[in-house]
């Protein structure tokens, strides 16, 4: 028989995350946007000379991801405030869901969350696209003098 116990475990790690942003991450878009802004600023700082300003951030997002662009934008605006990416544009490119049929070999896009093969009607388990979520490009400004 297991020991009878409750371990109250207040969410220390999430609290650290709030302290950094000052924003309650109540939507998953905020949490994802934390990683996004962090990576954009890292990439901008890594350049030689470091970027002075970030003008545009491009994100690729699979259509199976439940990312609401408006929420991601709200989070992006809030989280870039006071950084060199403040007022930069966020561009989200949607990647359509695509799959491969294990029965007949059909391969193609699967719109509208229908996961049945359009050729033979078998359920499709093998997805080849639609789950992506990555930062793909950044447009930024650098000083001319030392820029390469």
């Amino acid at each position: 028989m297991m020991a009878h116990a409750v371990i109250p475990n207040s969410c220390l790690f999430t609290r650290i995350c709030w302290a950094k942003s000052g924003i309650i991450a109540s939507m998953h878009e905020f949490s994802i946007c934390h990683a996004l802004v962090e990576k954009v600023l890292e990439e901008a700082a890594r350049l030689e000379p470091p970027a002075l300003r970030v003008c545009k951030t491009g994100v690729a997002c699979g259509s199976l991801r439940q990312i609401v662009p408006e929420y991601l934008q709200t989070a992006y605006t809030a989280l870039t405030k006071g950084t060199i990416a403040e007022d930069s544009l966020l561009e989200i490119r949607e990647i359509p869901a695509a799959g491969r049929c294990g029965c007949c070999g059909w391969q193609g896009e699967l719109p509208n969350n229908v996961f049945a093969c359009p050729a033979c009607a078998a359920p499709i388990a093998d997805m080849c696209a639609g789950q992506e979520l990555y930062l793909e490009n950044i447009e930024l400004e650098q000083d001319d003098e030392t820029g390469n």
């Binding site: 009878h4 475990n9 790690f13 994802i32 990439e43 996961f115 388990a125 950044i138």
Partner: protein, 217 residues
């Protein structure tokens, strides 16, 4: 001033993926299974775990995700289930880092299975890999048969779907066949269990699957 574009490829879930992998490594080392129970608030996730506590030979602990209160962990403790309450204080889902650290606080050597009961929500928890073997979707028959179509990611990601509160079916206008067809539209081959935690109906099928696919899979 020069404006330039740089191409990058940076996974946005990379940090979460790192912690999820740490959890997978830890589970493998301990030869321990972990499932992630996802469903709406009030769909019967905790009641299901109370039933699971009646299984004689299953040694499991629960990581209980909620925005507020330790109510669910206390409910499970009353059934002699070891439960650790994770309070997100506003966040709508559990992330891999928190789960990993909470997991490490459990007496892993004494367990066969860890059940993560995620924050009641059909949307956000489905987005986050926490290192589990299987996400399991719980849908109660009081919620309506169209939910699999409305929340496709969860039902797509789920390795099993539990239809809970089936004892209430005689009192509801719930089209069971349509619900099953909707699940099949999203995830054609997923195992589906009809379950009532109130009566215990369907528990044997579910625990048999759990034993075969998760504990010895």
């Amino acid at each position: 001033m020069t404006r330039r574009e740089i191409k990058v490829y940076q996974e946005l879930m990379g940090d979460n993926a790192h912690w999820a992998q740490q959890t997978r490594d830890l589970l493998a080392k301990q030869q321990l299974a972990m499932i992630n129970l996802i469903g709406s608030p009030g769909c019967g996730k905790t009641a299901l775990l109370e039933r699971l506590a009646e299984q004689p030979d299953l040694r499991f602990a629960v990581l209980e995700g909620d925005i507020e209160t330790t109510n669910d962990a206390e409910r499970l403790a009353r059934k002699n289930v070891l439960a650790s309450q994770l309070l997100t204080k506003g966040s709508c889902h559990l992330e891999a880092k928190l789960v990993h650290h909470a997991l490490r606080d459990l007496p892993l050597a004494e367990l066969d299975l860890v059940v993560v009961e995620n924050v009641g929500n059909l949307v956000c928890p489905a987005e986050f890999d926490i290192g589990e073997q299987a996400k399991i979707a719980v849908l109660s028959v009081t919620e309506g048969e169209d939910k699999p179509l409305k929340y496709p990611l969860l039902f797509r990601e789920a390795k099993a779907v539990i239809l809970s509160k089936i004892d209430l079916l005689p009192h509801l206008r719930f089209d069971l066949e349509a619900c099953i067809a909707n699940v099949r539209t999203i995830n054609g081959a997923v195992p589906l269990f009809h379950l009532s935690s109130a009566s215990g109906a369907g528990m044997d099928d579910f625990t048999a699957w759990l034993g075969k696919e998760i504990l010895h899979g």
